[in-house]
């Protein structure tokens, strides 16, 4: 029920000898619409042109989006398979590389069983490829060990939503409605740097008088103009949200009719939040009572509000609890399933939404089905043409795979579209695990830090060299179009999986000749699941500017607004969260007296494998830095630009200081996009959330020292 679709009919520049190919950006979950300029003669990508008619972003792009095309024909692209010989990579043929993979995979499975192999996927790939990763691991390799980098990104949101709402779709409303919202309650989301093109919607709403409450230990670009900035101590989010619930209940802001009709657990929740008085909440969170009262009053009185959150609250060892309590705020106000209101988590990776729905997770099968459910296994086995008893059991989460390597259970790994050597927490342990592996295959289009550990590197393609669908942060399924032919001898990830499957004697299960064939199978595999894509076709996506899932049949209009009538739980009612606040896994003490938190800068994407190779982006932000309050730095006699040694229980690193008053005085912040000695994940804590198995990137105890 999008109220308006913007089609301003603006002309685009199209130079002579060039064609414009309509697609979407390869980076974050905004999936901004863009045209790629291609030279008709040479077939090379030469530039980018805004796409004014894409309703979600209206031609807007961030600096990453503008320069994304520069990675496609980049000189550092891997163009042939590489095999490590005597510690050095040498170019090889596909035959040679596949022979080696086949030999090692078969040998290890013979010696150590099927589960000696593992697959580590990623969600910057299309839905088709993400779907195939699950099938490849379970059918071609027959292993239970498959998981993906979304474990570090979206799994807590998924866990929290499943618990409270019964279905995990990141945003319960289309973003084109956001400009009609009256109040934004934003927690742990640095919108301006992580999803810049979403800002236009927030600012449009602000022009119309919308209020904004921002919860963040740093005074981010959006916090600086918020009505209330709750400068929270990292790791105390569920206390703050419980405090909000307390005031909402106390002051009668609850939508009683909605809660009685559509929610369970209200009495328990009321009982629990009784103790979270503003004073008690203030003691835990470090936010003043006045600000808490003001924020709850603004939120409680707004007729249409959206609660939004992101990695700030999710990348914690209590991430699922945090998500549940914040979601309960929206439920208590009766905001879910209404126009211009609801709850939204914001995906950091391009296909963070679609990629987590289709069986890349250790315990999941396509369409949000569960391996633990025999009916689900039976259905998917039927689609794949295997016997249900052949379906491997659930494996372990991404970080736990490294424990399995250390214990000798996993002997080989195939990493696709991911760079855990930078993005996993406690990276020194991860590096050590990679060294312990008998055999490591990495598919990537640049030599990533992970690829350097590999025995075989397979040249994969960029997003511009293949087609398929992705699901943006709204839950809108969109089309990525092929812009040019693959460079050198590189192949798409689905071709690579197919080739290895053939070598493993499972070629009959991977008969695909092109992407639409995979898409059709994947639609069928998701049919009847919670994330039902069955009714979505390429034609419909083109005609309707994307289709929102669930869309169970071709005559179904799709679902822009979720939960209008009922929730995804078995009884159709949402479960309000009654969860007490718990301390972060590691809190400051005498030895490590400060809190370290990590995040993004606008110029880089994830582990920086792509963006660190783009000249403009590197000029803007060439290296990590530590952001600290002058009050804190003065205690250590640190000046702007001084080198600071930061040490946690897991490691230490040296970076330059950047002083600003726009951060809590007891916190320091380091962006995470660099590898090796510049990787802040050497310091972060791998404590996992008990449900989502997401590590605690956002909070750990650290000490500082000025070094010369």
């Amino acid at each position: 029920m999008t109220e308006f679709i913007v089609k301003p009919g603006v002309k685009n520049i199209q130079n002579k000898g060039e064609k414009l190919i309509t697609t979407h950006c390869c980076y974050c979950g905004m999936q901004c619409g863009m045209h790629i300029r291609v030279n008709e003669k040479s077939g090379k990508v030469v530039g980018v042109e805004p796409r004014y008619d894409w309703p979600v972003t209206l031609g807007k792009m961030c600096p990453k989006g503008v320069t994304a095309y520069q990675t496609v024909d980049h000189e550092e692209r891997i163009k042939t398979p590489l095999i490590k010989k005597n510690g050095k990579f040498v170019e090889s043929t596909w035959e040679e590389a596949l022979d080696l993979i086949e030999k090692n995979f078969k040998r290890l499975q013979n010696d150590h069983g099927k589960d000696a192999l593992s697959v580590y996927g990623g969600v910057s790939m299309t839905n088709e490829k993400c779907y195939l990763v699950g099938k490849y691991a379970r059918v071609a390799l027959g292993t239970r060990f498959v998981d993906y980098n979304g474990r570090f990104c979206m799994s807590s949101a998924a866990g929290g939503f499943m618990k409270t709402l019964g279905t995990d779709r990141g945003s319960t409303l289309p973003w084109t409605e956001l400009e009609h919202t009256d109040c934004f309650f934003i927690s742990g989301w640095n919108a301006a740097e992580c999803h810049p093109t979403s800002i236009q919607w927030l600012w449009k709403a602000r022009d119309k008088g919308a209020k904004m409450i921002v919860v963040d230990p740093r005074e981010t670009q959006i916090a600086r103009i918020a009505d209330v900035h709750l400068d929270i101590k990292s790791g105390t989010d569920s206390a703050l949200a419980n405090g909000m619930l307390h005031i909402i209940v106390r002051d009668g802001y609850v939508d009683e009719a909605y809660v009685n009709e559509r929610c369970n657990n209200y009495e328990e929740m009321k009982e629990l939040v009784k103790k979270f008085t503003p004073e008690y909440t203030s003691q835990i969170t470090g936010v003043s009572v006045e600000k808490l009262e003001k924020a709850a009053r603004i939120y409680g009185q707004s007729p249409r509000s959206v609660v939004m959150f992101c990695r700030g609250i999710e990348q914690q060892s209590k991430g699922v609890d945090n998500v549940s309590v914040y979601t309960s705020m929206a439920l208590l106000r009766g905001q879910i399933g209404k126009f211009a209101s609801g709850v939204a988590t914001v995906t950091g990776q391009g296909n963070g939404q679609g990629g987590r729905e289709h069986g890349q997770k250790a315990d999941a099968l396509p369409g949000y089905r569960k391996i633990a459910d025999p009916e689900h296994v039976k259905y998917v086995a039927g689609v794949w043409g295997i016997k249900p008893e052949e379906m491997p059991k659930a494996g372990v989460s991404a970080y736990e795979m490294f424990d399995e390597i250390q214990e000798g259970n996993i002997r080989a790994m195939h990493v696709m579209c991911s760079n855990p050597a930078v993005s996993a927490p406690n990276t020194q342990y991860v590096w050590d695990s990679f060294r312990k592996l008998d055999f490591l295959v990495v598919s990537d289009f640049f030599m990533s830090e992970t690829a350097e550990f590999a025995d075989v590197v397979l040249p994969a393609t960029t997003w511009a060299e293949d087609e398929g669908t992705t699901t943006n942060l709204e839950g809108r399924v969109i089309r990525i179009r092929k812009v040019k032919d693959p460079i050198g001898e590189s192949k798409t990830d689905w071709e690579i999986m197919k080739l290895i499957a053939e070598r493993m004697g499972k070629g009959e299960f991977f008969p695909y000749e092109n992407v639409p064939e995979i898409f059709d199978e994947f639609r069928l595999a998701s049919k009847g699941g919670k994330a039902d894509y069955y009714g979505i076709t390429y034609d419909r996506i083109d005609k309707e500017d994307g289709v929102f899932w669930p869309c169970p049949s071709e005559d179904h209009p799709g679902t822009p607004t979720m939960f209008i009538d009922e929730f995804g739980t078995p009884d159709g009612k949402a479960n309000l969260a009654a969860v007490d606040w718990q301390e972060a896994a590691e809190i400051p003490d005498f030895e490590y007296p400060h809190t370290l938190t990590t995040g993004r800068v606008v110029f880089h994407y994830l582990s920086g494998t792509q963006t660190r190779r783009v000249k403009f982006l590197m000029e803007q932000c060439p290296e990590p830095y530590v952001e600290m309050h002058p009050e804190l730095s003065s205690r250590y006699n640190i000046q702007n630009g001084d080198n600071v040694l930061l040490t946690t229980r897991r490691g230490s690193m040296t970076v330059k200081a950047r002083l600003t008053k726009a951060i809590r005085a007891d916190h320091v912040f380091i962006p995470y996009h660099w590898g090796k000695e510049l990787s802040v994940n050497q310091l972060t804590n791998p404590a996992l959330d008990p449900t989502s198995r997401m590590p605690e990137f956002k909070v750990c105890a650290v000490n500082l020292k000025k070094v010369n």
């Binding site: 600096p63 301006a192 800002i199 236009q200 600086r224 803007q620």
Partner: protein, 180 residues
Amino acid sequence: MKKVMYLEFERCIGCRSCQAACRECGGHDAKERNYVEYIDFFESRQTFPMMCMQCKDPACARVCPANAIQITEEGVVLSAMEEKCIGCRNCTFGCPFGIPKFDFEENKMYKCDMCYDRTKHDIAPMCASVCPSDAIRFIDHEEMMELRRKRTQMNLIEGKKPSENDKWQYVPEFFGVYSD
């Protein structure tokens, strides 16, 4: 060209998309001609885009001894003409906004030409097209006058001032730039 560039500083989120996009414009040779600055990073994350004002009586053109800086009939102040520019750099000193820059390798001045190949067809310049926060807009003159009139009602400014730290004292007023 009936439209004007309109800047609203407090909307700026410092992402520098405008700079990245400027490099993409035809003939810009991967050099940006607009800039984004922090007002005072030590105090706040407030940034602002610094664009060519396309002055009605441009100082850069006035101080050019070779008459190399042309102004189009729509009022767009162009980069120095290669065949006329003598490389004296007077324009870089003359501009009060620091917009013209000098390319020592090519021995010529370059500055924002308001993406003339786009704007002459009424297509927004690259910087305004991509600006994710609408801090830079390419809009009708009437729309700009309307926005200016509404200025005191605008939520981003009035009635929304955070009381802590007096951040707003760092925010300059926004303005529209005329091109006709």
